[in-house]
């Protein structure tokens, strides 16, 4: 069984997690050093990190006693599905508008 995954849209729907991704886009960080940027408890930071992990935005590697977080491509690729959805959506709706207008002209 794979770990239950989090929807990437839900993952980026939180400003703290977006800030975490921005910090991690500059460099890999341990959970402890990541926590220094936030005014929240260490367990709260871990919870956000876990959500980013299950949504595929980061990977976590144990190195000694520290846990290192690194950005991962998977979550970002899934975000693309939103753009794809609406791209297709507009395409079909505009076709419908075209059909409507053509029908009206023929009347």
């Amino acid at each position: 069984m794979k770990l239950q995954s989090t929807d990437p849209f839900q993952a980026i729907g939180d400003s703290n997690r977006r800030l975490m991704l921005r910090l991690l886009s500059k460099e890999s960080l341990t959970i402890n050093s990541l926590a220094q940027h936030f005014d929240m408890t260490r367990p709260a930071v871990s919870k956000h990190v876990k959500i980013l992990y299950t949504a595929g935005f980061i990977t976590i590697q144990d190195m000694g006693r520290e846990r290192h977080c690194t950005l991962n491509q998977k979550g970002f690729h899934e975000l693309q599905s939103w753009i794809d959805y609406f791209d297709q959506f507009w395409q079909t709706r505009l076709k419908k508008l075209e059909d409507l207008l053509n029908k009206k002209t023929k009347k």
Binding site: F9, L21, S25, S81, I83, R93, K96, L97
Partner: protein, 151 residues
């Protein structure tokens, strides 16, 4: 690199006819979605369609009319979420109508992926986007009768 959706369509119809279909609530519902749209700047309205849970879309789009310049341009905000009151995507839809020989060119730009743009890595990692844009260009090219104005 662009992170927006663009579609250009040519209609062999007068600009006023297209404008009507973009700004009349009843006509709009015939091709887009059920709505309570009014062509008034500041008017808040929503579109209702079917949910698509895979992308956290509960089927409701919350909008506000931002600009109206009849019969040339209309824009509104375009927000949606998973249905718990949260907005996941806060974007912008802009329609531009340009009279062309024998009809009207309609340009749709759906942009403002604010949250994504705040993440620098999104640029680097979103290599698939350019492929997507090229696909759209291909579709437009087959649709358009006039020279393309997009770049």
């Amino acid at each position: 690199m662009k992170k927006e959706i663009r579609h250009v369509w040519f209609f062999p119809h007068p600009t006023e006819a297209i404008w009507e279909y973009l700004t009349d609530s009843e006509l709009l519902s015939q091709w887009l979605m059920k709505n309570d749209f009014k062509p008034v700047v500041g008017h808040q309205f929503s579109f209702k369609s079917s949910p698509y849970p895979a992308i956290e879309f509960d089927g409701n789009v919350y909008c506000k009319v931002l600009e109206i310049s009849a019969p040339k341009k209309i824009s509104y905000s375009w927000k949606f979420g998973p249905g718990n009151g949260e907005t996941i995507i806060d974007s912008l839809v802009v329609w531009t109508l340009t009279p062309k020989d024998g009809g009207t060119e309609l340009l749709l730009v759906h942009s403002g992926f604010t949250d994504l743009r705040q993440i620098p890595a999104y640029d680097a990692m979103n290599a698939g986007w350019q492929t997507n844009i090229n696909k759209i260009h291909g579709l437009i090219a087959t649709k358009e009768k006039n020279e393309t104005t997009i770049h």
